[in-house]
């Protein structure tokens, strides 16, 4: 059963019957809707070989060139995503450390940088980087602009994830490390940060999903990632419905894979992280672990 089954009792015979009935009724409606969509597509000529051939028929003359072109776009997407997540991780860790170790007299500065970067739409951030940097004489490739934009935004999100992880660690971890005579920097480096990373691993992978999605914003600055290349291909093939559908499927497959990975890690995470001792006191002292981002929890059928 789903995780919410605590809401209702185990079903009796009448409940079971009702559930079966509802299942059948909704399934019938869903099938009907699918049928209508299919029919509409057929009527509008959207199921024709002309529209789908280049995408699904290997003997179509356009099949090879199209997929080579799209694969190139996918590679560009993945390169940007990989670069962005690595840079964001470094930048985010730095920001998290800057925030937790900051002295009060400049903490407001660190906090406002984080808050402002988090408040700006990422598409605007990418746009900003790509337009403003050249103006001040920094001309870089569109890929670099895209990576910088994604790094800035996702870095501060990761900083907040890590800070949450650090706060959720039991007090005892810090106290124990300090009682061994570790300096506060070493306490952070050797004891707290590794645990925060491990605890937040699912959330961090979840952020990777966000990054993969956000690479598609490259179209704003004409970086040829998957979506942009699809857009270009459509100009000559004129099959937007089919091509955008396939591109959506590709993104969904990639991110579903990452979601499954997250789920696996989520089950394993925490095992190696210190827990507050159980029992009454423990339950009260345990601080809430921040919610992992929704993308990471998406599929829980």
């Amino acid at each position: 059963m789903s995780s919410s089954s605590f809401l209702y009792d185990a079903l009796g015979p009448r409940g079971n019957r009702r559930v079966r009935w509802y299942s059948a009724a909704f399934a019938a409606v869903a099938l009907g809707v699918l049928y209508l969509i299919g029919q509409k597509l057929a009527v509008e000529g959207q199921l024709s070989e002309e529209k789908w051939g280049p995408l699904v028929n290997p003997s179509n003359p356009n099949f090879g060139p199209l997929w080579t072109f799209l694969a190139g776009g996918l590679v560009n997407t993945l390169i940007v995503a990989a670069l962005a997540i690595v840079c964001a991780l470094l930048f985010g860790t730095a920001m998290a450390l800057a925030r937790v170790t900051s002295r009060p007299w400049y903490r407001w500065f660190v906090v406002s940088v984080i808050e402002v970067l988090r408040g700006i739409p990422v598409v605007l951030l990418i746009f900003f980087v790509a337009r403003v940097l050249p103006e001040v004489g920094i001309g870089l490739s569109t890929m670099t602009f895209l990576v910088i934009g994604l790094t800035l935004y996702n870095g501060v999100v990761i900083a907040e994830i890590l800070r949450g992880g650090l706060q959720a660690l039991p007090r005892g971890q810090k106290e124990a490390a300090q009682s061994l005579g570790l300096s506060s920097w070493n306490t952070l480096r050797l004891v707290l940060l590794p645990q925060a990373f491990r605890m937040m691993l699912p959330a961090l992978i979840g952020q990777l999903i966000v990054v993969v999605k956000e690479t598609s914003l490259g179209f704003i600055i004409s970086y040829e990632e998957l979506l942009r290349r699809g857009q270009i291909a459509i100009q000559s093939l004129s099959n937007p419905l089919q091509l955008f559908f396939i591109i959506a499927v590709i993104y969904i497959i990639i991110n579903l894979g990452l979601t499954l990975l997250t789920r696996k890690l989520e089950r394993g995470a925490g095992k190696k992280t210190a827990k507050t001792p159980g029992g009454r006191q423990g339950a009260k002292a345990r601080r809430r672990v921040p919610d992992p981002i929704p993308e990471a929890r998406a599929l829980q059928l």
């Binding site: 809401l7 209702y8 299942s23 909704f26 746009f127 999605k213 419905l241 959506a248 991110n255």
Partner: protein, 216 residues
């Protein structure tokens, strides 16, 4: 900063247009998200997987792709409309899954014992939902809901970027690309516009959060 002063009208109009997009999108996303959440926690397995599939699709697929699909794909099958509505509806469909997940995490945050206690005193399913579960679930779903709403506002910029026209993002594009003005002041103004929307709403919602938080 002359650029902002000179074009203040344009900025103000863009800002209002953005507010409009967000408002309509939220108007669609909230009820749809509630329906999805209800489906995902319902005892009917088919509804649970339907809700799950919807959420999975829209959380794995970039908003950009959703918007392109709607704006360029749908006209192919004779569904025509303005970019504004395609964009806003796309944003609503996309954001509904985040609203759904916010609600669901709120429901899951209610300890199972609360539901058991409610049933134990003889409350029916609907009563225990109305009197005990939902009041607590709604309060605990406020923080993720805040995130979902802020996410929606920020994503409205993508709707603008793909060409709704006249919103805050479009102002940036018009002024820098078409009129060739310097990007730094223009974009700073646009960013300020978004922050003006995102930061106060975030602040207000987190104030409400602390007001209604449940002591455990």
């Amino acid at each position: 900063m002359d650029v902002i002063v000179d074009n203040f009208d344009l900025f103000a109009q863009g800002w209002l247009r953005t507010v409009q997009i967000c408002f309509y999108a939220l108007l669609g996303a909230l009820p749809l998200g509630i329906l999805l959440a209800a489906a995902r926690v319902s005892p009917v397995p088919f509804l649970r997987s339907l809700g799950g599939t919807w959420v999975t699709i829209f959380m794995s697929c970039p908003l950009t792709v959703v918007l392109f699909f709607m704006a360029f794909g749908l006209p192919e099958i004779g569904i025509k409309g303005s970019y504004f509505w395609f964009g806003t509806i796309g944003l609503a469909l996309y954001s509904a899954s985040f609203v759904c997940e916010a609600l669901r995490s709120g429901i899951n945050a209610v300890p199972a014992g609360q539901a058991e206690a409610a049933r134990s005193i003889g409350l029916s399913f609907m009563r225990s939902l109305n009197l005990v579960i939902l009041p607590q679930a709604l309060r605990s779903s406020l923080p993720p809901m805040t995130n979902a709403i802020i996410y929606l506002i920020k994503n409205s910029a993508i709707v603008g970027a793909f060409g709704v026209g006249q919103d805050l993002f479009a102002v940036a594009d018009t002024l820098t690309a078409a009129r060739g003005l310097s990007a730094l002041p223009v974009l700073t103004g646009v960013i300020a516009g978004y922050l003006l929307l995102v930061l106060p709403i975030g602040r207000i919602l987190s104030l409400i959060e602390t007001k209604v938080a449940i002591l455990r």
